[in-house]
């Protein structure tokens, strides 16, 4: 074993990279799963949030306030450790996807609500006049237009989510950060391993952020 940690890290690079890249795949998996779940939850609660009746609005507002007021790490621990205490033992990956999905759903509820509210009320009234139901009006008139308003914040959410999934390491989901921690335990090369981990996150998040920025510019230009 070479005494210099940088030389040792260089020797171990292929092994470390293969371990970390396997983790990066899981990171992408958690991100994608939570993203889809958050969109579903966000859509449902955004519709509730913009209903004329009081009760659904109150329920949606409470959901948003509570889940945006509590750290996502706490929410993960409730889902993973808390539910296990009640006999519901989720595997770490599922717990992470559910946790980030529910947490992200609260954020996206507000994003989607802003999208729905950006459509002029007159269009919805016109849809009623044509004999459409509320759901038809939402689906056919409002949502297709709201998509343009919603896409940029949705993209930024995806970038944020990708980085947030690092917290899934705390419930032992085998994603990038968790693999990094395991490698550090085995090699004691904390500086080198975490620098690699950081570089891999950058390699995923920077292109995604760049893509979102381009999308923003495209949509902005289309509207002017």
């Amino acid at each position: 074993m070479s005494p210099d940690p940088w030389v040792r890290a260089y020797d171990l690079l292929p092994v470390m990279l293969s371990v970390l890249l396997t983790g990066a795949l899981v990171t992408l998996q958690v991100t994608a799963g939570a993203f889809v779940l958050a969109i579903g939850i966000g859509l449902v609660f955004a519709v509730l949030r913009t209903m004329p009746a009081r009760l659904p609005r109150l329920i949606a507002a409470t959901y948003v306030q509570v889940f945006r007021g509590v750290p996502v790490l706490t929410q993960l621990f409730v889902i993973y450790f808390g539910l296990a205490e009640l006999g519901l033992r989720l595997d770490p990956l599922t717990a992470a996807i559910i946790g980030f999905g529910i947490n992200g759903g609260a954020y996206l509820t507000e994003v989607f609500r802003a999208g729905i509210e950006s459509i002029h009320q007159g269009q919805i009234e016109a849809a009623y006049m044509l004999g459409m139901t509320r759901m038809m009006g939402l689906r056919i008139i409002v949502l297709p237009q709201a998509v343009r308003v919603v896409l940029p914040p949705l993209g930024n959410f995806a970038v944020g989510l990708l980085k947030d999934t690092a917290l899934a390491s705390a419930v032992a989901a085998p994603e990038l950060t968790f693999r990094g921690r395991t490698l550090v335990d085995q090699t004691y090369l904390s500086t080198q391993v975490y620098l690699l981990v950081a570089a891999i996150y950058l390699a995923m998040s920077l292109p995604l952020a760049h893509f979102v920025r381009r999308l923003e510019l495209r949509l902005g230009r289309g509207r002017a």
Binding site: P5, Q65, V66, R68, G69, V70, P71, V72, L73, T74, Q75, F77, V78, F81, G82, L83, A84, E85, L86, K163, D164, T165, A166, L167, S169, A170, T177, G180, R181, V184, L189, S190, T191, Y194, L195, V197, A198, Y201, L202, S205, L206, A209
Partner: protein, 217 residues
Amino acid sequence: MGWPALLAAWMPELLAAARGTIEMTALAFVLAATLGLALALARLSRIGLLSRSAFVYIEVVRGMPAVTLLFLIYFGLTSFGIALYAFAAAVIGLGLNGAAYLAEVYRAGIEAIHPGQREAAQMIGMRHGQVLREVVLPQALAVVLPPMGNYVIALLKDTSIASLISAPELMLRARDLTSEYFMPMQLYLLVGAMYLGMAYPLARAVRFMELRLARGR
């Protein structure tokens, strides 16, 4: 043990730990706000190298998870002979992370001021620094305050990740108590409620400020 006994055992410890959370939030905020301003000014500077370094810092730090930055500072620096207290490492990590975010907020604030005002200030003989200090920054403040408020709320919640490097704050105490009492559901719900109890009033205050500032304009 019933609820009253449990709460009597837990609450003093959790409240003491919540103090750590608040202190960590405040210190990291001060660091992020100062360093963020320096970064924003560097980013807008006409000196290419300065501007480009600030850009790279912002992109790199915003591109990685805050946990990774904390790990690099707390575990990674030890190989350079720098061993920080977990609390200090958390404050520095969250501060460095927040600075990159706030730099973009400041930049948006500064760029929101019409360039005609700068030109006018230069015409009446003000120097570059004076223009910034007396004309641009006071107005940019109104643009910057609401997102800064939202950042404080996010930061308050983000301090929970400091528990992953064993920095003394609310989440770490909850984890310790969990391994002592084996009641994760009760403890994490309680701690969640405590975070909510801190974040909700803050969110209301930011909302109020937003409405006030919007009316003023």
